[in-house]
């Protein structure tokens, strides 16, 4: 996730990372991670990223920051609930979401024409 400002709010954070900020903490699927709100009630990107093990890399020349995925727990997945994935169809250009296949088994196969 690349941002050009660090004062993003909880809604933008959820859209970009899938982690929803709730009263009980940062939540994704069936996992909620308590957050330290001693500094105030508002969303704090740095504190939240630190808690979730997300690296923040700055490219100061370009005025951009890149936020890596959560490393909390030491595995790629923190929950078995499939995250939402929305990507454009190669042929139609229209976005397709994995969640639109609920009710069917999905085999998500990655490939590239290297």
């Amino acid at each position: 996730m690349i941002v050009d400002r660090l004062d993003i709010d909880a809604v933008a954070f959820e859209l970009a990372t899938g982690w929803k900020i709730k009263p009980e903490g940062a939540c994704r699927g069936d996992v909620c991670v308590p957050l330290d709100r001693s500094a105030g009630a508002g969303f704090n990107l740095f504190a939240t990223a630190e808690r979730l093990g997300m690296a923040i890399v700055a490219d100061t020349d370009a005025g951009l920051w890149s936020i890596g995925p959560a490393s909390l727990g030491g595995r790629s997945l923190t929950t078995a609930e499939a995250p939402e994935l929305s990507l454009p169809d190669v042929l139609t250009g229209e976005d397709v979401t994995v969640s639109s296949f609920r009710g069917k088994k999905v085999v998500l196969a990655s490939w590239a024409p290297y």
């Binding site: 996730m1 690349i2 899938g18 093990g53 997300m54 690296a55 923040i56 890399v57 490219d59 020349d61 370009a62 951009l64 890149s66 936020i67 890596g68 995925p69 959560a70 490393s71 727990g73 030491g74 595995r75 790629s76 997945l77 923190t78 929950t79 078995a80 609930e81 499939a82 995250p83 994935l85 990507l87 454009p88 169809d89 190669v90 042929l91 250009g93 397709v96 994995v98 969640s99 296949f101 609920r102 009710g103 069917k104 088994k105 999905v106 085999v107 998500l108 196969a109 990655s110 490939w111 590239a112 024409p113 290297y114």
Partner: protein
């Protein structure tokens, strides 16, 4: 690699019945822990992952394309039964949750690829490399962010292959260079990366692609 313009003719020729999606920003890495291709994820009817990203090489298919046959042979190398992965999927399709290949949620999480803070930082650098490459073309800044990603997560071959392809294409502007995964003979000194695909495959996949 390139975008939809590179993939479209391949998808059209194959004519799959399923959607083919373009993941230009490597969301599959960040969301599912994909580190190479072909890696496959199984998701059940309720939206639960029942197998995390894992090697899922296809069995050889009938083709008269010598290169395709070579790639199939490479992917099957080291396996005694090339149909193994397809058989697992067919078993799941037939038996559902009763399939022996279905994992519990805790097993899925435990079997997903390791992710340290360094891996998170690698993903952040890779995203910047992709961003600057797509907006401004290949540059020393793009190379810097690719190199950081490669150093922080050396086992992520997807990050490396993307960089090899992008650098090689920028150097020659030849479409064939998009498939470059190692320096051309005689140009080894110009190769800016600490590794190349054949060394990566040997170290991280246990595949010696130079033999046979």
């Amino acid at each position: 690699m390139g975008g939809a313009e590179v993939l479209r003719p391949i998808v059209e020729a194959a004519g799959p019945e399923h959607p083919s999606l373009l993941d230009a920003t490597h969301q599959m890495d960040a969301l599912f822990g994909v580190t190479n291709i072909p890696q496959v994820i199984w998701i059940d009817e309720a939206g639960m992952i029942v197998r995390p990203a894992e090697r899922g090489s296809p069995a050889p298919q009938p083709t008269e394309d010598p290169f395709a046959n070579f790639v199939f042979e490479l992917m099957a190398r080291g396996t005694t039964h090339p149909e193994w992965y397809g058989d697992r999927i067919r078993d799941w399709a037939a038996k559902g949750a009763a399939s022996e290949w279905v994992l519990t949620p805790d097993e899925v999480i435990a079997a997903s690829h390791p992710r340290t803070r360094d891996v998170s930082e690698a993903a952040a650098h890779f995203a910047l490399a992709q961003h600057f490459w797509s907006t401004d073309g290949f540059s020393t800044k793009v190379l810097h962010h690719f190199e950081q990603a490669h150093t922080l997560q050396p086992e992520n071959i997807t990050y490396k292959r993307q960089a090899y392809s992008a650098w090689s294409f920028a150097k020659t502007h030849d479409d064939a260079a998009r498939f470059a995964q190692s320096p051309s003979p005689g140009e080894e000194d110009q190769w800016p990366f600490v590794s190349e695909f054949f060394a990566d495959a040997k170290q991280y996949l246990g595949l010696d692609l130079s033999a046979g």
